[in-house]
Amino acid sequence: MEANSIPDIFQSKLRIAIIACLMTGEKTFNEVKEITGGSDGNLSVQFSKMEEEGYVKIYKDFFNKKPRTRYRLTNKGENNFIDYVSMLDQVVKRHYDKQE
């Protein structure tokens, strides 16, 4: 991944936070909300976009007789996030290399 070809998914801070949060494992909507601090509406919109792009898989089931939605990062989402973090790392490294 190059600095000038960052996927659209990584253009939003909330989406980056959601993906980082899902990197440590599957989460429910409320867990993601608690960690990222996003509002219900905003999170729903971002999750739909990430599902469309194939970054997130959504599972719906029942827990204690109540509907529950869980979110998991797909392989594509995981790999692209790793590439994105490496790219960020390269940007910072290159800057310090130039300074030296």
Partner: protein
Amino acid sequence: MNEQALHEAVENISLIKSVISRTNKSFVAFSKIFIYWGLLFTVVGIINLVQMANYEKLFDSVLNWPLLNYVYLAAVALIAATIYWSISKKTPLISLEKHLIKIWMLVLIMNVIPTRVVLTSTALDTSMTNIVVTTNNFSTMFFSLAIALIATALFADYKQLLNLGLIYIAISVIYAFLRFPLFEGATLFQVLFALSLPFTFFYTGFFLRSRQGRGD
């Protein structure tokens, strides 16, 4: 590469780092549950002190209605469970706190289980009808709290909780094996016993909440 790209890269790296560390070491719901449990056990401690102060008056009623003790325990357990459910419903327990709360629950249950006393005597001793047996789980309670504190400290990497756990182990061992003058005075001992549970929950709850606030 311009300064703006660098600035954005640094900002996004710190955002990712903070989210991942928050996911691994979030104690939002855990600390809230502990503070409320601390309040509950303060009330329980006060009731226990009142019971101990009026032991002779209450002794007969406990003998007549042994179920009273169980009803009281069930009520405390029900309130503790309600606190847990209502908080975890609003703020779900995540990652590490989900596992640590199970350890603490087991420790609490361990302290509630009554000690079973079996008296055995030879045929000659059967005339001794006025035997009063008092059970005391001071050492085991402190030791069990120490285990939970040390487990929390090791997984969450907080030295202060580890130190408190070690102090509890020391208290537990001193009480079990040594005749220490501090423990001989009944009132002081009873107050210490009644306050230990709420103090542990308040300390752990407020400590983790303060760490959360500082983003540690």
